[in-house]
Subunit: 285 residues, 2 copies
């Protein structure tokens, strides 16, 4: 197997450093952060990276450690640079607690501009019973070695000047990579093996990045262009086992200038560890 | 066809009366409401009805009329009686505006208790282009006449003392009604024809009710019990045509004491008018 050797560990990795939040002295629930230029697509900061960053602030603010369901509405485009996350504890229960967070950046006059607003319910994945009655099956994706990584050249997963490409090790299913050669399948599907480039294993917070890290399904429909997320909700259902993830995203309903996009994330132990759905604007092209 | 004759119209119906919100004088963005006992399951108010009620308050508060994507976190169980909805305009854009709303009820001392918190992006469905490139197909459900309504007796859609049964005209696909006879299919599916009992046609707000109005998919897995929603996000994608709706709900991932539930709502013109996903607790049984 050509899996990456782990060069980084949970807590000491690019992802962890770039999602660091720092509690602001004297202002409970307020966290400063720096949006890294390392997770951008063209000039915009990736929405999954933002979600993970806000998710880390909520982990700090709430008594439960793990995101169970996280709903984010994307208001304005984020840019690399300073940000502040303001959290609120909405309700604390025995098995779940609910919080809200907004991430703001600053305009030229130093005024705060809200980028995303999140409401989330957190729990403790380690405390859940082991029952599994899922009928879902892992995505039909070729072996890791038979999928296409950046070394495949013209079929590289994400074209253009995208810093995030260097932070991820995406290996696309050739059946869903035709768009990179001008031959999209038309089905609205995207499947890939997913790792962080420095070999850090997945954890619940990095799953919030993973659900929005593949090229958009509209590429597979032949619509090459910007497809900004309006809203994304992710469910984290199990702590991921070490090793690469498999991610499948699909869209079934492109209509009226919008499309939904569903993601499933599977771990190396064949567990469905996360599901997400987003509503995005369709590219104008 | 045995479709209901329209005895009520949009704006003048049980649903409209029971989702009325009244702007509180001198408090912009604050709306009083009365949760009707007509939309309860056992003693709890149906989550879709609550969502529609909050959705109506947001329609009043925001410059755009229609819910596009609505994310709700359910905090505590609602009961029939007085409620107040506090809204906030988060961002106003050209094609979309985003708002937040919380619905509160009152404890014995008159203190407000938050029931659900909602963040939603609204737009104008009538302003969307007519392009449809959906690959989704309407649910495979038998003809209206061949599905099971309350008159089917022991196979009635919802057992027990549920006021909401009288407000809806649900006709269940016999293939997903076996649980009512002690023989669930085990697939985690539920399909039904759906109308309001007084014949009022569907509109974007009533779709917020429709996505959470069927018996839960866990019944079809043989788990008969209370399955409270933690979070539900609904996308409204098109203004529904007159006539009965077809609703299909599925669960694919019951694990760790929780399950996701996806709903699709199709109108009489074969348009996928709404999609939703929720995370719910699995019944303890």
């Amino acid at each position: 197997m050509a899996y990456a050797a782990a060069q980084a560990s949970i807590g000491d990795s690019e992802f962890d450093r770039d999602t660091t939040v720092t509690a602001r002295a004297g202002e409970p629930g307020v966290y400063d952060a720096e949006l890294s230029a390392g997770w951008t697509i063209i000039t915009a900061v990736n929405g999954g990276y933002l979600l993970a960053l806000v998710g880390r602030a909520l982990s700090a603010a709430l008594p439960h450690p793990d995101p169970f369901t996280v709903s984010a509405h994307y208001l304005t485009s984020s840019e690399p640079g300073p940000a502040v996350i303001r959290t609120e504890v909405v309700r604390v229960g025995r098995t779940l607690s609910t919080g809200q967070a907004s991430l703001f950046q600053y305009d030229a006059d130093g005024n705060e501009i809200e980028r995303i607003r999140v409401v989330a319910s957190y729990g403790d994945l380690a405390a859940l019973p082991d029952d599994v009655r899922t009928t879902a099956l892992p995505p039909a994706i070729p072996a890791y070695e038979d999928c296409l990584g950046p070394e495949a050249g013209p079929a590289a997963p994400i074209p253009g000047s995208n810093a995030i490409v260097d932070r991820l090790r995406l290996r696309l299913d050739p059946a869903t990579a035709g768009w990179a050669l001008g031959a999209p399948s038309g089905k609205g599907e995207m499947r890939a093996w997913f790792e962080l480039a420095d070999g850090r294993d997945a954890d619940p917070l990095s799953l919030l990045l993973a659900v929005d890290a593949l090229p958009p399904t509209c590429f597979d429909l032949g619509l090459m262009g910007w497809s900004p997320t309006v809203e994304l909700t992710a469910h984290v259902r199990h702590r991921p086992a070490p090793g690469p993830l498999r991610i499948a995203i699909t869209t079934r309903n492109l209509a009226g200038g919008f499309l939904e996009e569903d993601a499933e994330v599977w771990d190396s132990a064949d567990r469905l560890v996360a599901q997400s759905r987003q509503l995005a604007r369709a590219p104008r092209g």
